[in-house]
């Protein structure tokens, strides 16, 4: 599709055309020559962002294929500045990623179609279901059947891929093109790097935030019942896990809008390792001490902390809360709690990645769009200090530790293109196009599976201009920004095989939640299995990588 086809463009064409001409001529002088027209570009960029923000417009249904291509076409500016038309003719690239509900890879296809048309390169696609992703990647690495040039990958796998030298180091021109310094704090190195080399074009920011129902927590009838039940504090959104527990138990059997109302929703069913993050979100406030960067393992020995009092307390919290949750909660995984329960109006509090906020408003899976509020994860009145073995009360009040779970998706280029300069440039150009500053803005604006991850994504006016409600979006973005930049954020270790640890834990946790073993025994079992796994993968190296991933 040509950009000329669109009416809205004709009005803006003079402006845009001159800018591109300027950029192109500057590029002719040298790749970094574009800096000369910086102010002009900045101006054009604002226009561009406003334009793509209107495709198709928030509240006008889910974006379609044509929309993706339109956006891809409009955001081609930086590519045109560094690549000549038809420069990659004859280059064939293979791209492996997810087909996540016909997003991810299908979305990338749309974005890259105009790129393919312009550069002349051709991309073939390998789409995987989320559950197959990890095994496929690991088995491809182990048997030498890596048959892809570009890879969509989550940061936790960096240990497996970058650590084995399979990824291609990012060239400087790409860093410049995608404006890598724009990333929010927690996505800056060491995340995305390995041994000091940069590998990843970040396209997503991931973090658990706290989603709650504003209507439940402002309901006068419930507030009265809360007082009548003898509670001292005001009825409102819980700020600590202690309050979450109290509210959840209080809400059992209560009615709201003629429907049973529930408090916090746990996700006890395993979810291919991802379910463990939800225990992590309950535990981080207890286990992540501000004076200690580690919270999952002891930093010098990789001795698991999963069976220390902090984690056991979090597990016990789940056991205590489950009787107050819906009757089938034992078979609920995070997908159920998030999309079949919370968005469908059941339960009033859950932790989740930003998808919930993105979907609650701009997609038709949700019935609670107007009554969702966001915050960082609850804190705790006391926090466990694993050095002293004591529970500390901080002078500053409750201790918070947002769980920076998964660290988001990124685009990586595989080392197999390194031998072929043209292919190398083409692969990086494609990755840079997908991770472009403006394109990424569109991705975080609409339901795409990707969340805000650049400082420039947090200009609230742009969101409002695109059609978001100011109050809603401020609450949403603030909860994310506050988590990303929180001084006591709990960052996931990017060590090889991290999902194996999670998967083992999930298995044991379902036994605990089903009442087969108590919290401490189960936690001890997990710790023992983790020790075994660490030995199998290689303890010394794991310790080194764990330290590196925490930046110690």
């Amino acid at each position: 599709m040509k950009q000329q086809d669109y009416d809205w463009l004709s009005a803006l064409r003079p402006n845009r055309r001159t800018v591109l001409k300027g950029a192109a001529s500057a590029a002719a002088l040298g790749t970094s020559g574009a800096l000369g027209t910086f102010s002009e570009i900045a101006l054009a960029q604002n226009n561009l962002r406003a334009q793509i923000g209107q495709i198709p417009g928030v509240g006008k249904g889910s974006p379609t294929d044509a929309d993706w291509q339109k956006v891809g076409e409009l955001c081609l500016g930086p590519t045109k500045a560094s690549i000549k038309e038809g420069e990659f003719k004859g280059v064939e690239l293979s791209f492996m990623g997810l087909n996540n509900q016909n997003l991810h890879n299908l979305l990338f296809r749309g974005f890259l179609k105009p790129w393919e048309a312009y550069t002349g390169a051709k991309i073939s696609w390998i789409d995987l279901a989320q559950a197959d992703y990890n095994p496929r990647l690991q088995q491809a690495i182990a048997t030498g059947t890596v048959d892809f040039d570009i890879l969509e990958m989550g940061a936790p796998f960096e240990g497996d891929v970058c650590g084995k030298g399979l990824a291609s180091e990012m060239p400087d021109w790409v860093k410049k093109q995608i404006d890598i310094d724009d990333y929010v704090d927690y996505l800056k190195p060491p995340v995305g790097t390995w041994n000091g080399k940069t590998y990843r074009v970040t396209i997503d920011g991931d973090c658990h935030n706290f989603n709650y129902r504003t209507d439940v927590f402002s309901d006068p009838a419930l507030a009265k019942a809360w007082k009548d039940a003898g509670n001292t504090g005001e009825w409102g959104v819980p700020k600590t896990w202690q309050q979450v527990q109290a509210v959840t138990k209080f809400l059992k059997g209560k009615k709201f809008k003629n429907q049973n109302v529930y408090g916090y929703l746990d996700a006890p069913k395993p979810w291919g390792g991802f379910g463990f993050y939800f225990l992590g979100s309950r535990a981080s406030a207890y286990a992540k001490h501000p004076d200690d960067k580690a919270w999952l393992f002891d930093i010098d020995t990789m001795k698991p902390r999963i069976n220390n009092p902090a984690w056991v307390r979090a597990i016990q919290d789940v056991i205590d809360a489950l009787p107050s949750e819906p009757a089938d909660q034992l078979n609920a995984d995070p997908n159920t709690t998030g999309f079949q329960q919370f968005l469908a109006g059941i339960g009033s509090m859950i932790p989740w990645w930003g998808d919930i906020g993105q979907v609650a408003k701009a997609s038709d899976t949700s019935v609670i769009g107007d009554v969702v509020g966001f915050d960082i994860l609850p804190g705790s009145d006391d926090v466990y200090n694993s050095k002293t073995g004591q529970w500390d009360k901080l002078p500053s009040g409750p201790s918070h530790a947002p769980n920076c779970a998964y660290l988001g998706w990124g685009i990586y280029v595989m080392a197999r293109v390194n031998g072929d300069e043209k292919k190398h440039k083409a692969a990086w150009s494609a990755a840079a196009h997908l991770g472009g500053k403006d394109l990424s803005f569109w991705m975080v604006l609409y339901p795409s599976g990707f969340q805000a991850h650049r400082t420039s994504h947090f200009q609230y006016d742009e969101w409002v201009a695109a059609g978001y409600d100011k109050k809603y979006i401020t609450s949403y973005l603030n909860s994310q920004l506050a988590s990303y930049n929180h001084p006591n954020r709990a960052v996931e270790p990017r060590i090889p095989g991290i999902f194996q640890y999670y998967s083992i834990a999930e298995d044991e946790l379902t036994k605990i939640f089903a009442g087969k073993v108590d919290a401490q025994t189960g936690a001890n079992n997990i710790a023992a299995a983790w020790e075994k796994l660490t030995d199998q993968i290689g303890r010394e190296r794991q310790i080194g990588l764990y330290k590196a991933s925490l930046g110690v």
Binding site: A131, D132, N134, P135, Q138, Q139, I141, A142, G159, D160, G163, K164, P268, K269, P270, W271, G272, G273, P326, A327, D328, Q329, L330, N331, D333, T336, Q340, Q341, A344, I346, P496, G497, F499, Q500, S503, I504, E506, D507, T510, K511, F513, A514, G515, K516, L533, Q536, I537, G538, R541
Partner: protein, 372 residues
Amino acid sequence: MQNSAPVSDDAHHQPATKRAPGSRKAAGRALVLLASLGFLLVALIQVLHTTGTMTAGFSDWRPILIAYLVWAVAFGAGQILTRGERGHRALFLLPAVFFTVAVVIFPTIFGLYIASLDWNLSSIEGPRFSGFDNLKGMLNDTYYWNALGNMVFYTVAVLGEYAIAFGLALLLSAEIRARKLFRVVFLLPMMLSPVAVSWMIGKSLLEYRFGPAATLARYLGWDNPAFFASPWMARFSIQAMDAWVSIPFIMIILLAGLQAMPKEVQEAAKVDGANGWQSFWHVTFPIMLPVSITVLIIRIIFKLKLADIVINVTAGGPGGATDTVSSFIYRVYRDRSNVGYGTALAMVYLLLIIVLLTLMLRASKRWTQKVV
């Protein structure tokens, strides 16, 4: 394996008279020898090429495949030339044997090798030989034993599936209207993929809040229709879903058997004054016994591989109540990349099934007619 040829003997009354004359025999032998040499040559070239001893060679091993094919054809022709009628008979079996051996021999041997390794794909040192350590680990693995215990339940449940399927097959072979319609309809569940079944039925139709099954259960007076929250209920729900998919399979085989049954036999029973139940129990059921045993054994083998529905719907929960050996192995192998241990578990499971199958076949020989 080129040296020992399958010998076919006359099973029944047509005497294998057409012996091949001497000259054809010699030609046949020469052909097989030539083809074998050619195959070995290609293989040798490729081995030398891969090990780096020789520069000439092929970019991949595909020529080996073609050489094998040529050799197999030559071998078949050789059989006819050297052994005449017996060769013709061997030709029935040879394609399937050659095919299976070619596709499976390398993976099985390689699989046995993997089973003896301590190999976690994330481990930087790669695989380490560990002998029987994986087996020792298995003995202490409560998950594996728990899953094996669950398999007993799932296997016994096959009898229930069989009973329902037999009933349906009888219904379909009764004199009814719209028989064709019913037949097609009863076949339909088999066609839904396990993935679709687990999501559209397990996670949607049986959903606690909006699933129509839960609505129906509430209407019938069950306040809390949580199909997957208590161990036994979850087991039964999983079993029900699997039965829904697989009953048509049993049914179609039984139906084919019922149709092949001579009508005269049944009618003779009627004339003898047997009522419906008697004629079923004394006539139909015994005649159907061989096909029943076949279908039961196939079905049990499939049941022992049950995994997809469990993985998607309960992930083995609650507390391992619905876990199957296959779904546990999948977790070890795929989610945890512990391929050495996972393969070892699968190999042991394979052995267990083979022993079980042998016992079942032995026991069933009493009822089934023997080959020949």
